[in-house]
Structures are given as C-alpha cells and as structure tokens.
Amino acid sequence: MAVSFKLNGKPVTLEVDPEMPLLWAVREFAGLTGTKFGCGMAQCGACTMHVEGQPTRSCSMAVGDVEGQSVTTIEGLSGKAATAVQAAWENIQVPQCGYCQSGQIMSAVALLEQTPKPNDEDINAAMSGNICRCATYVRIRAAIHSASDMMEG
C-alpha cells in the first residue's frame, strides 16, 4: 500500500501499512528522525507534528489518515513563529536531555501562530500535553513569552 502526502512542503509517497502511525512512517520510511517516540498513546507529546497546521500526536494518527494532507516536522519548521521559538529556546537554554524538545517546539510554534500574545493560561492549555521529564517547564514558559516578544519586535 502507498500513502501520499506533503511532508515539509514536498510531496512524498510511502510504501507502508496505512494503519502504521504517522510517527513511525515519517521516522523509518521518510527518514526524518527529529520527531520522537515517547508513549505511543498521545499522552506525552514527544511525537508532535503539524498536520494541516494543527499540532498533532503523530504516534496516534494512522499515516493513511494524512493522505493528501500537509505534514510539518521539526526538520521543516519555518516562518516567523518558528524562527522566534527556536531562537528563544537557544537564548534561554531550555533543553536538558532534549528528547522531548522537538515536540515542545512544535506545540509552542502552533500556539504562537494562533495566539501571538499568549498568557500563562494559554501556555498551560497549549503545552499541558507535552511532558518533559527533565522538567524544563520554567524555561519553556519563559521561552514562549520571549518568542512572543521577538515576534512583535
């Protein structure tokens, strides 16, 4: 079986079981390993990608369900919010082990694309699904506020 969709702006066709989660199709068949596996049941957010611009837990979405759609991973991030978020993440030195950070960044970029001036409650709502066992949460929050300021400036 083949599934065709747009991955980071380019059309791809993957010869995979359409029931395979998008995460594994992208990691093992499209060769993009920046997105991580953390729980396999949409509990931790390490696998977050954007599907049609929406933050999506790719471990729990069948690749067949993105047929014809547009998927963005950490490797394909671009735009004002993405640039600001990645710069803020580095400036504020957010990552520790770093394993969850692709997912954190994907969620943060989606938040800022929809809500350019988020308050703490907005951040909680958007980021609650992304677990960081190193508990870099203080800096994730600070970096989102900082990115928001950068986007304004």
Binding site: D17, T35, K36, C39, Q96
Partner: protein, 744 residues
C-alpha cells in the same frame, strides 16, 4: 549514588577473598572484574593527573591528540572526549568548560563527543575502576583531571609555537584559541599549530601547572550548552535515531510478573505479520524482530506466549506493606548508633513518633530504553545512551561470548535516564546482544522498549517504610532520634553488593538518614533489608529520595511539638555543619521566611546534603478551595563548591525540583498479585507544565572543590512542600504520593 562503591574498593583488600559474595563478584562477573583490576591498578599506582598526560600523538586527520581527552583539529576545532554520559545534566558543557579554561580556547571552537568504553583511560575516579556516570560525580571526579589535560595541551601548543618561531616560550601568551608572541608579532591558531604540536616530544608535561582560579575566564560564567542548538532543531542523535544498513527492529514480550519465564510460544500469527522476520526466545522473554518498529509491535501483539509463574513474585503492594510494617516493630541492623537512644527516650519530657510510606517509582525517561547492537566476525558494536559503559561492555561480552575489549561502545546522548540506564545487569543491552546472536552475522538490531515495557519493566526506586521516634527535653531540644527503615537493597544480588553493603547495611538504603547532620546526642538508625522479587535500582538522588522526605518532615513535626519556628529549630542543631546552615539561611532570607503571606498560602522548608552538595528549598503553596495544593514558588539555595556553569546549575535545580515534585505528588508503581498496575503516562502520572512552580535559584559563592548538581536538587522539594501544606492546613502527609492523601 556510588560514592560508597568507591570507598568500598579503597577499604577492601582485593588480594583476600573471604566473603562468598565477593568471590561470586570476581568469578561471576569475570568480564567486569577484569576491567576492575586494570582500573584499580591505574588508580592505585598513578596520580590522577598522570592519565591526562598520557598518550600524546596524532589522529588520522593529522590533528593533535595531546591526551585521552582532547583532539585539536587542523581545522581549528577542539574536540573534548567526554567519559561521561550526557543525559540532560549538562555534563558535556561542564567538562568542556574545564578543558577550554585551561587550554585558553575560544568557546566557539569547542566540540564534545562521547569517549569510547575504556576502564583504563576513562574510568570514573570516584567509582574506582569503572567507567560510568552517576552519583552526581562527573564534575567532581573530572575537575583536576581535565584541568591538567587542558593545561598540558596548552603547554604543548606553546612549545610548538616557540620552536616554530624560534622564540622563548616565556614570551608567548594564549587567549581565545590564539597563540601570540608580542615581541616578534607572531601569532597562530590552535589549528595552525596542531600538526607541529603533534610532532613534538611530550616533554613539557612535568612542568605544567593549572591556572589560579582568580584567572578563570570561562569557569564561573554561563557559556551556552554545546548541545543547545542540536536539541532545538531536531538534529541531536539518540539511540532511537541510529540507522544502519540492513538494520532490523525488535521488541520483546516479557513475563507479566517479575520472575516469570517462558513456558511455551506459538509464533505462527506473529510470523504472519508483514515485516516480521524472526521470533527469538531470549532469557528475558520472546523477541519479535521485524523490518520496522510497527511490524515488530504488531508481531508482539500476535504472539501467544504461555508463562511459567512458578518462581514469580506474587505479592502485591498491600501485602508487602503489611510485612514491612510488621518488620518495623523489630530492631534492624544498625547503620548509625550514637549514645543510648532507649535511655534518652525514656527520660524525655515529650516523645513524638511518625511512620512514612514510599511507593515503588519508575524512572520513565522520555526516551524509553533502546540500543543498537551489531555482532560480526571481529566482535560486538553497540550504540546506546550508555551510563555504565564498562559494566555494559563486560555484560555484553559475557552474553556474546567475547572478551570485553572486543565490545565497542558508541555512547550517544540519552533522552533522560535518572539512573535507569545505570544498570548493573545491563538488562536492555544484554537483551539486544541475545537477539543479535540469533541473526545473521553483521545484522544490526535496534531494540526498543515501549512505554508500557518501561513502566512495567521493573528496576524501580524501591518501596520503603520508615518509622521515626524522637524525644525532646523540657526546653524542646531533641535529645533522642530513632529512625528505622524497611525496604529492598538496590545492590542485593549484584556484583556491587560486595563493596557497597557493610555489616549487612546497604549504604544506599540509609544515605541521608545515617548521616543526618542535626546535633542530637543519642541517635539510632537501623535497617531491615527485605527480599522481594521486584527488580530495583537507583532513581535520581537514590536513598535521599525517601530519607530526605522522612527526616525533614519529621524535623518539622519536632519543631511544631517544641513550639519553635522550623528554620530556627534547624539552625540550633546545625552549628557543626556550616554548609547546611549557610544554604538554609540563604534560602530562608531570599524567600522572605517569616514575612506574612496572603490567606490560604504558606511556606515550608527543607535542607539536605546529597553527593556532597548542599541544598535548601523554601516552597510557597496555595491551598485551593477544593483542598488541593498548588506549589507557587520555590526558592532554592545550593552550595556545590566552585560553580563551573551557574546557568547549568540553575537548570539542574529547576529540573530536580520538577522531577522530585512530580514524584512525591503523583508517582507510584503499585502491584496487585505481583502484577504492575500502571502502564503509561495516563496512569503513571508525572509533572506537567501547569503544575511547575516558579523557581528561584541562589548559588553560594565557594572555592571548595566542585561537586555535582544532577541529583541534589531533588530531595528537599518533597518535604518542603509537605511542610508548607502542614503550615497551611495542619495536615501531615506521610504516605506518598500526595494523591493517596489529598486532591492534587
């Protein structure tokens, strides 16, 4: 974690085998022991810094390799080889800072990569003859070694310049990676000098001196992490990301209860799953090997395994707790005995007693256990976020039927560990080796544990029961302290037992309790070590994860019983422990201890030393109308000696607080008839962003030798929050997690 391990080696005479356990260690762990012997002699026979000066030479690209820790490339990069695993704690950055400081390198030219497994060159000098990361010892054991390594490399580069320019070396200066001679106007980069330095005889090492700390330009500053960029753009490489030609992926079906074994397997349906290439029985269960992860997982679901439970652990948490409570009624083996506790308790004006219960805890690092193993004609190659490299090397060699030096380990960064990968039996590595043995030679296999495998797979922080009894005199001063601990030993049945258990007491079960700093004349700490078939392991901050909680909550209870302020009460008992006292005072001052708070808010305090780092925390909480608690803010004071990188220290305190807070508030693995009841993050709850308090970190200025920060931020947060909840509500939380007693 392992400082007692190193002490054990120093204290033991390796020439005499008296205890059966030690003999088992030396014979059973032959591969490990071989490494130990070499390392032991290195350690005993040579000064630490001699390691740094050994091995001058050149690399294949014509670069300069002054010693085992540094490579200077002709492209002007300086690569620091880290003998320690980077698992988030910032050790790559910390170690590289020490080298760069003494080398006078420019931070932008620094690169870091994992050193190969080698107990002779890359042993943790705090562990003795083992290469490994743990016990918050990386910076402490590397500081002198890497200063000398950097200073030696600098001296050799200066010598090369002096010879090349035909000038006196005394007139040469080095700054930010540039070697200059003012009088002649000559200058060169490290890269320019690399080939010339490589050709020089290594004659200067004896004249090398390290910098006076007042001249430091990098140590004490917050240079950016070397892994910061790769961890914001998805390029950081973890074991899960390794792709090799012809690689297959495996998952393993393991028994539903600990100690279960395979009775019968029907693999027909599994083999029929497209992509599944093989089903292999391994000692821990049945492995399904496929061309990709999803096929392997579907294959495992299709597998029919009949398990033999005849030797399995079948007790549940409730049964274990009842047994622990019964044991707590009887004296255990003493870990500390000062004065006469029974007499002092009998004569006390007031006695206070309390019991505490601690559950099993899973580490649950974000990257579940995984590794890649390839066996070929020449040996075994491993790619992993490896925390105990030479122990894994020995165990992999034993499983593969090879010699340890035939096992090559590529240590990648780990997506967290918290102790899980510091694994005495190398469980996941050995599993992968067994699978590789069943495959065609040269076929790499990636073993992936799912989250369910991780949460249900054991090697937990042990379950414990504590009972404390104290006596106060008429003035409210504590005169007697008795602390009884019941629980499993982490090193029981492992090669570590011989060196870490003394007189029947596993030091990791009582650390933080047996070294209680408070000035109390009569003290007894004793231990019952239980035998349970649930595998246990060190969990970030090890013994202090439970001892800090029980001791610091109980001290708070005593302060209350004595009618004293909790900070004042502690101060009066810390007069002989200035570093505890200093962090306590600093945290209290910065938190505004004693100043009034709004209705429904309260503060709690705790102070604890672990791994020779001193931490005090003041937690500020709000009690919500529904009775739940919100931790608003934590003020943390830390004394870790010389602060190599203040921002990394702050990050570790923040992270330690979040990790510890999630553990005490929500963390528990429970068993029903031996079966683990949790399986993933929906029922093994961990801290999320909305539950994270604001954190303010204050670092004590110190010239003392640097100590670690990976673990010491964890222990004080639980008791600080519990004490704040008491201050707000009058309720003591003695059974963890908090979810057992309250809404959170």
């Amino acid at each position: 974690m392992l400082k007692d391990f190193a002490k054990g080696f120093e204290a033991n005479d390796f020439g005499v085998e008296t205890k059966p356990s030690r003999r088992r260690f030396l014979q059973g762990g032959a591969a490990v022991a071989a490494g130990l012997t070499i390392g032991f002699h290195w350690n005993a026979g040579m000064p630490k810094v001699a390691l740094a000066a050994a091995g001058t030479g050149t690399d294949s690209a014509g670069g300069f390799v002054p010693n085992a820790f540094i490579r200077v490339g002709t492209d002007n990069t300086v690569t620091v080889l880290s003998k320690h695993l980077e698992m988030g704690q910032g050790v790559y950055t910390g170690l590289a800072t020490i080298v760069a400081e003494e080398l006078d390198a420019d931070w932008s030219q620094i690169r870091v990569e994992g050193a190969p497994a080698d107990a002779a060159r890359y042993n943790n000098t705090a562990f003795g003859p083992v290469q490994g990361t743990g016990g918050s010892s990386s910076i402490a054991n590397s500081y002198d070694q890497l200063r000398m390594a950097g200073a030696t490399a600098r001296a050799l580069l200066v010598d090369a310049a002096a010879v090349d320019w035909n000038v006196d070396r005394g007139g040469i200066t080095v700054e930010k990676g540039v070697v200059s001679h003012a009088a002649s106007g000559k200058s060169a980069t490290f890269g320019d000098l690399a080939a010339k330095a490589a050709a020089m005889p290594a004659s200067v090492a004896s004249t090398v001196t390290v910098k006076d700390p007042s001249k430091f330009t990098l140590i004490g500053t917050s240079v950016p992490r070397v892994d910061g960029k790769s961890k914001t753009n998805g390029t950081a490489q973890f074991a899960l990301d390794v792709v090799l030609p012809g690689m297959v992926t495996a998952v393993i079906a393991r028994p539903p209860v600990f100690g279960g074994t395979v009775k019968a397997v029907d693999d027909k349906a599994a083999l029929a799953v497209p992509g599944v290439v093989k089903v292999v029985q391994v000692p821990s269960g049945v492995a399904v090997v496929a061309t990709n992860f999803w096929a392997a997982k579907k294959g495992r679901e299709a597998l029919a395994v009949e398990w033999d439970r005849s030797k399995a652990e079948t007790r549940g948490s409730a049964e274990l707790l009842a047994e622990y409570k019964a044991l707590a009624e009887k004296p255990g083996l003493p870990a500390r005995k000062d004065g006469d506790v029974a007499k002092a308790l009998a004569g006390a004006a007031k006695t206070v007693t309390a019991s505490f219960e601690f559950p099993y805890l899973a580490h649950a690092p974000m990257e579940p256990l995984d590794c890649v193993v390839r066996l070929d004609q020449t040996g075994c190659e491993i790619w992993a976020g490896d925390q105990f490299q030479t122990i894994d090397q020995g165990n992999a060699a034993a499983a593969a039927g090879l010699k340890p030096d035939q096992v090559r380990i590529n240590t990648l960064m780990a997506g967290g560990s918290f102790g899980r990968r510091a694994n005495i039996v190398s469980d996941y590595i050995v599993e992968a080796v067994h699978i590789a043995k069943a495959l065609d030679k040269g076929t790499p296999v990636k073993l992936v544990w799912t989250r369910e495998d991780d949460i249900q797979g054991g090697r937990y922080r042990p379950m414990y029961h504590h009972t404390l009894t104290a006596g106060l005199d008429a003035s409210g001063k504590p005169v007697a302290w008795q602390h009884r601990i019941v629980g499993q030993s982490i090193v029981d049945g492992t090669p570590f037992e011989a060196v870490m258990v003394k007189d029947g007491v596993d030091g990791t079960s009582v650390e933080g309790a047996s070294n209680l700093p408070y000035d109390i004349p009569n003290m007894l700490v004793d231990l019952h070590t239980t035998k349970v078939g649930v595998p246990v392991l060190w969990w970030r901050a090890v013994g202090s994860t439970h001892t800090a909680y029980s001791t610091e909550v109980f001290v708070d209870e005593l302060a209350h019983a004595a009618g004293k302020d909790p900070v004042e009460f502690r101060r009066a008992m810390l007069t002989h422990h200035p570093r505890h006292l200093a962090v306590l005072n600093l945290a209290a001052e910065k938190a505004g201890w004693g100043k009034p708070l709004a209705e429904g808010k309260a503060r709690g305090v705790a102070v604890h030393e672990s791994f020779s780092t001193f931490v005090a925390q003041v937690a500020e909480v709000t009690m919500r109308p529904d009775g739940s608690v919100k931790v608003d803010r934590v003020v943390c004071a830390v004394d870790c000696g010389v602060a190599i990188n203040p921002d990394v220290i702050r990050a570790q305190m923040e992270g330690g607080i979040g990790f510890g807070l999630g553990g005490v508030m929500y963390g528990e693995v429970t068993l029903d008839k031996g079966k683990v009841e949790q399986s993933n993050f929906h029922d093994y709850r961990v801290l999320r962003i909305e539950e994270m308090p604001a954190v303010e970190v204050h670092i004590v200025q110190s010239n003392a030798a640097p100590t670690g920060v990976g673990e010491p931020g964890v222990p004080p947060i639980g008791p600080a929050v519990a004490n704040a909840v008491f201050a707000a509500t009058g309720r003591r939380i003695r059974n963890l997690p908090f979810t057992r007693d309250m809404n959170v």
